[in-house]
């Protein structure tokens, strides 16, 4: 009779195999083939694709760029999100209105918003330069120099995903116990001491969760880069996922891009595990 349980598990297993296991195994198989636009097919060429990955400086540069972009954007999101959450945490006027307002960027489609931001940053037509000019700061070549383009992408990322951080941190703040705050008030702690000694330690587990979730998401950045800069100028804003996209779907080097994807996957798993461990050690009290 216990064999019946497999019958009930079947739908879930089928879906799991279809959407995760099969594509993953297939990607591994493809990464050992020379499948490209001239010779489609699953031949076997050993580890030559992986050897090529290690020599591909453009890939490693894009990976470095991605790490800088995701770490800095997530940190900015965390700081701004925390500040906003603290601002609307206590009773203030129109609190409900602000809470909804802060969530708007997250609810919009990334592609659409990237198009709008591209217009804002347009060098001769966009309002960003108009405003800078009006206050006498001169124009900035937002999307045509490397550094400025990188910062533009960073701004849009922060704008788009701070609300998510805000939401997670606000949920955490709302669930905090009241007693530590009462005790801090009686002990005579001011707002800064209260934040450092009460709020921040209590929020540590939520902080770690929020940062990890956002790092995973931020590493997949694609739409913003694609729409705003297409990785340019040159390769100044090209991230890993965008580079893999170019190799796979523009050049149709399927075998090679599969090898890139797997390398990327392994690096992400290792680095995020390390980051999570380091954050936990830094922020969480060690028991025992």
């Amino acid at each position: 009779m216990y064999r019946d349980k497999y019958f009930f598990l079947l739908p879930g297993l089928v879906v799991l195999i279809a959407i995760i296991i099969f594509p993953l195994l297939f990607t591994i198989r493809v990464s050992f083939s020379s499948w490209d636009v001239f010779q489609p097919g699953l031949d076997y060429i050993g580890g030559r694709n992986f050897a090529r990955v290690f020599e591909d400086t453009r890939f490693w540069e894009s990976l470095l760029r991605l790490s800088v972009l995701s770490v800095s954007s997530v940190l900015l999101q965390y700081v701004i999100g925390f500040a906003l959450a603290l601002a609307v945490w206590r009773e203030i006027r129109f609190r409900r209105f602000f809470r909804v307002l802060f969530l708007v960027p997250m609810m919009t489609t990334p592609v659409v918003m990237s198009v709008i931001w591209r217009t804002i940053f347009h060098e001769s037509l966009g309002p960003a330069n108009d405003i800078l000019q009006a206050i006498g700061l001169g124009t900035v070549p937002w999307l045509s120099t490397g550094t400025a383009a990188f910062i533009s992408v960073l701004i849009v990322e922060v704008w788009q995903w701070t609300p998510f951080m805000f939401l997670l941190l606000l949920a955490g703040l709302v669930s905090l116990p009241r007693e530590p705050y009462l005790a801090a008030a009686i002990d005579g702690a001011g707002p800064i001491r209260t934040f450092l000694q009460v709020t921040f330690p209590l929020m540590a587990p939520i902080t770690i969760g929020a940062i990890i979730i956002r790092l995973i998401e931020a590493s997949k950045i694609m739409e913003t880069v694609y729409v705003m800069t297409s990785g340019g100028p040159g390769t100044a804003t090209e991230t890993s996922s965008y580079y893999i996209y170019i190799r796979g779907l523009r050049d149709f080097q399927i075998g090679y891009s599969a090898a890139l994807s797997l390398t990327y996957l392994v690096i992400m798993i290792i680095s995020l595990t390390i980051i999570a461990k380091v954050l936990a050690r830094m922020l969480l009290p060690r028991e025992g």
């Binding site: 009462l182 005790a183 008030a185 009686i186 002990d187 702690a189 001491r193 009460v198 330690p201 009290p285």
Partner: protein
Amino acid sequence: MARIELRDVAHSYNGGKDYALKPLNMVWEDGRTYALLGPSGCGKTTMLNIISGLLKPSEGRLLFDGVDVTDSKAEGRNIAQVFQFPVIYSTMTVAQNLAFPLVCRGYPVNEIKQRVDSVAELLGLSELMQYPARRLTADQKQLVSMGRGLVREDVSAILLDEPLTVIDPQMKFELRRKLKQINREFGITMVFVTHDQTEAMTFAEEVVVMKDGEIMQRGAPQDLFERPGNTFVGYFIGSPPMNFLSAEVAEGKLSCPNTKFSVPADNLGGKGEIQIGFRPEFVELVDPEKANFATARIEKVDNLGVETIVTLTLPGNLTVRAKTTTRFHQDAGDVVGLSVSDDRIQLYSNGQRIGQANEMA
């Protein structure tokens, strides 16, 4: 140290629709130990938070030694408050935790060290000073919470809001003893909120019983036990609760149907519904022939180790409980006699105490 006075203080959480604390006047004398006792939601914590300044009363004034402090904030009042769940600063060591209130107030370093050391000594935390506070046990954490209050030598009063709830029973006794010792040594006023009556009775010199935002009775534990001011206090204090039987006045005598109870009562006519009340502890179980109060059938015998609680049914289906510490050999179904001395029987009219049976003659 201060004499704390509440003048017409009342509080409502919803702008006057319901009162969590009904208007009351009250004085907490300097250096005494008080217990606030009452069921959940009776306004105990509200009263405490008003005194400590975490809550501003919607009506009335609060005076410390005659100085109006109604509008000053918690940190300005020199009140220490200990909460139901121990609050520690988890990133700090025990010593840093104890020093925190002084650091916040900008005390000089050597004075902080001296005060922290003496408080740690008093609470028996000296060994643990450099230990991270988060790794302490619950009762040690609660000691640290208390220590943060004691470390300020000018503290006016210590308010304890059910501080022993999370503590093991054996430790409870120890902590209570420590609190009393602190009270004796430093003469700090202590207000202890609890819903555990034994805790209240053993800790405090004076017990205040509250219900629905009102003070029901205030007095020494002995008074509350022997002469409850109303039927609520009779029910609430004591385990099992006081026995209440309805009585009637006829021909100048107050008597209780189905019992031998009868006292002269010339001045009780027209006093409304009259009840007599007596503690289970004051019921003596005797031979049916020798009984001065009634004969009854034993319904149930609960042996609690040291004491035995006997549930009895009187004629007319009245239930009375007796508590006895002597060895009890009878069983359910047996018939026994009940004796209650007249000076142990309280009289109530419409729920309020009007006297004692032996004073009626």
